[in-house]
Amino acid sequence: MTFPSGTETAGRYAAYGRRANNGARLLGSVLATLFGLLVLTFVIGRVLPADPVIAILGDDYDPAAYQRVFLELGLDQPLYVQFGIYIKNILTGDLGNAVITGRPVIQDILRVFPATMELATISLLIAVLVGVPLGVIAAVNRDRLPDHIIRVVTLLGFSAPVFWLGLMGLVVFYAHLGWVAGSGRLSLFYLDLVPYRTGLILLDSLLAGEMDVFWDALNHLVLPASILGYASMAYIARMTRSFMLAQMNQEYILTARIKGCSPNAVIWKHAFKNIRVQLLTIVALTYGGLVDGAVLIETVFAWPGFGQYMVGALTFGDMNAVLGCVLLIGIIFVGLNLLSDALYRVFDPRTK
């Protein structure tokens, strides 16, 4: 048995110390980011000229009812006191009650977030599975017919408003062809057939072995996810093309070709391998944007998701709900950033 020498032990402790330091710094910056977000949102929400009490009661409110709701919302307190109370409650794990539902914000978010998560994840899958190959094909066939076709397709995805695509999709695939289901996540006949486990209906129905429910959920999901995925796919394809073009002009590609590598090997083993890190950033950001809630698509398809919830909260000036949503978005972005940082280390040997 060998024992570490004193110098080795000291070195190891120093490394642990550095890691702990880095960890603390990271945690500090995450908390500062989230805190900053909350302060900003709170201030913006409260300085807007909108009156949340009227938003809730309607313009024909009774003055006594106005006073009651005003007090219930804590609006009689100075801004800093309102914010202080909110932060204190957050530290005890309480995000407060949402006015727009009368329920705890956490409970609301747990209900609406899985719906958005499911939609965003399938959309991203479509976007990546279609967008990346299209981008590569466009780059490899630069200025030739496939590149032009892909450019037109992706430009359409970029420029067509997503709600218009959604409505057109409903008219064609739901109303005329009857290929897909209409609004919502599930047909009414399948309500309550699957016990709630994750809130992701596709997953829950698979876990419960309810294949009819699975197909029905997929039928509801496919159109909004495809349209949302199309818009993201356009972005990913364009970015992939430009990343690939930058690589294809490098000398190492020329070297590989001269050495006799097959075209497929040159593209996928050499060029593509080197754009993975950049692509990862793009995909992570796209996912972040999708998970924030695709409000327009959620509205067109009556998808009971996070985007609709957040817009409703904003419309009614429901600060507890708005702040809860902002906090979650902040956590998602920070989380995705950390995840993509971690994946850099896997894909990029220089960071090791």
């Binding site: 909108a50 003055p63 009651r68 727009i100 899958l125 289901a181 997929l218 496919v222 495809s226 000036g317």
Partner: protein, 533 residues
């Protein structure tokens, strides 16, 4: 190879989704599926915040004492109150039916009724304004509304006002919903009159009970088999949140929903031609209008207010924008009510007449005004049409758009020039509904507890107030009709603070195989009467 595999995988994803829909089918014959936007359904307490959509939900969950006939609102029909009479002193005595039970199984008694009629005022809930209008206050309501035995309720007059107006304005509305006193008290927290509990739960005796409410997603109501009416033919009602009007229309056309409540005018126009769908255009409450602040230094002049009346392109607006929003009617009392005129007020777009009036008022060189409006149709269309037509008379109108909480907040603070609105009473079958909203202003101070539309426009006339109070107290219907004619004439002489655009209509679309649902002008449409062929 890789390319073709990828493409195949992508195609598979689409193909799986594009498989023929297994779930599409006609809605079941004993279930009603309704599409509407639920964004304004914030809670389920029938006495608190009310919206068009929520009133419909409350109507199914809660019984009221009486209801108005949807086809003739001046007719009151019994619900929980089997019969009623007015005593000589004006007291209203109501006999309750004895076979009604709440969803909890508790019997509906006079105690529940009295508690329910005290609750809005004592709990400072939004419905309390309808009680205040008649003269009830938190201080006097317990003394004036009392139980006599298990099934008799006595309501004494808080003012000279005829209590039949109270029957229309409160008892027949969702404000008069009867809640389960025992259940509510069991769930009361910090003296909130069970408000927190009823926000998310059911405490009624109506034909349907609340099975589930997922905000902004779905409401499921189950038939209450022990309802005194014997139970609806519909075992369940689904109310689906479909915020996009066109998506609602497509689902209605496909038969995935039976009724659509919140469609846009272009959808109604298209559905009108569909033989499978019946579009009901029911006169609703209130008017689309432009309100003017009489506190404004220029608009305080009645001649200027009258001049603005000639600067609205009525015909063009009606044809192009308002077809499914309003019908031409510009008198202050809604058409068909007691005391309403037979003829409409002659209004027209007449720039010369407007200029003449402005010159008489000393504003021949024009002026600058701001008009506040919601940023949605038809409000914004009315504002921009007015902006353009008023410019012909030298009036420079600045249009400011905003959400309701901004626009109406400014109106409540009486800090505005002009505002496009949709109200002015008419929610019940009595003319008092209109005049109480648009003309009656007994206290024009900032501390007034009655902040109706007349107050918001700082419109105050002592004589008019006295005439309105006298008409509300009058028992003889023909005399009342005459008095309301005089009220309207006097109001016209004063220079009304509103330019009436048209009387509101609330259309809705229903599949023709659904019978028995008659759209109620007072947002209390009964879905329990639905039958499917």
């Amino acid at each position: 190879m890789f390319k073709s595999n990828t493409i195949a995988a992508c195609l598979l994803v689409f193909a799986v989704g594009a498989a023929p829909d297994r779930a599409l089918a006609e809605t079941p014959s004993d279930q009603l599926v309704i599409g509407m936007t639920l964004a304004n359904v914030l809670q389920m307490d029938p006495h608190d915040t009310g919206s068009y959509e929520k009133s419909h939900i409350s109507t199914q969950m809660y019984d009221r004492l009486v209801e108005m006939d949807p086809e003739n609102e001046s007719i009151l029909r019994p619900l929980l109150a089997e019969s009623w009479e007015f005593e000589e002193n004006g007291d209203l005595v109501m006999q309750l039916r004895q076979d009604a039970v709440f969803h909890s199984g508790n019997k509906v008694t006079a105690e529940d009724v009295v508690y329910s009629l005290h609750r809005p005022l004592l709990g400072a809930m939004n419905a309390s304004s309808t009680f205040r209008d008649v003269g009830f206050t938190p201080e006097n309501v317990e003394e004036l509304i009392t139980a006599e035995g298990d099934y008799t309720v006595r309501i004494r007059r808080p003012s000279d006002m005829n209590l039949v107006i109270f029957m229309y304005s409160a008892l027949a509305q969702t404000a008069g919903s009867i809640v389960d006193k025992q259940l509510v008290l069991e769930n009361e927290v910090d003296g909130d009159f069970g408000n927190a509990f009823l926000k998310n739960n059911d405490g009624g005796s109506g034909p349907f009970s609340l099975n589930r409410w997922n905000p902004n997603e779905l409401i499921v109501l189950d038939r209450f088999d022990d309802h005194w009416l014997g139970g609806s033919e519909m075992s369940r009602i689904f109310i689906m949140h479909i915020p996009e009007a066109q998506a609602q229309r497509l689902q209605l056309e496909r038969g995935d929903i039976d009724m659509a409540y919140t469609l846009s005018p272009s959808d109604y126009a298209s559905l009108d031609a569909n033989p499978d769908i019946d579009v009901q255009k029911v006169i609703g409450d209130g008017y689309y209008h432009i309100a003017m602040s009489t506190d404004h230094e220029i608009l305080g002049d009645p001649k200027v207010r009258l001049a603005l009346r000639y600067l609205v392109p009525y015909d063009g607006l009606q044809e192009s924008v308002m077809t499914y929003f309003s019908e031409p009617w510009h008198q202050p009392i809604s058409r068909g009510k007691v005391g309403a005129f037979d003829e409409d007020l002659p209004v027209s777009y007449d720039v010369d007449k407007a200029k003449e009036l402005l010159a008489e008022a000393g504003y021949a060189d024009g002026m600058e005004l701001e008009i506040l409006t919601l940023s949605q149709p038809p409000f914004i269309d009315i504002a921009t049409a007015f902006q353009e037509s008023a410019s012909a008379a030298g009036i420079d109108v600045k249009v400011t758009q905003g959400a309701g909480s901004v626009v109406y907040g400014q109106m409540r603070q009486r800090e505005f020039d002009l505002i496009v609105g949709r109200n002015l009473g008419g929610k019940y079958g009595d003319p008092h509904s209109n005049v109480a909203s648009s003309m009656y202003n007994p206290d024009n101070t900032e501390a007034s507890s009655l902040q109706n539309y007349a107050w918001r426009c700082s419109f105050y006339d002592e004589e008019l107030n006295a005439m309105i109070e006298a008409a509300a107290a009058e028992q003889d219907e023909s005399k009342r009709a005459e008095m309301y004619h005089e009220i309207q004439n006097h109001y016209e002489e004063l220079g009304p603070p509103f330019v009436m655009i048209g009387q509101r209509i609330d259309p809705f679309a229903v599949r023709t195989n659904v019978k028995g649902v008659i759209r109620h002008p007072s947002w209390t449409t009964r879905w329990d009467l639905a039958v499917k062929e």
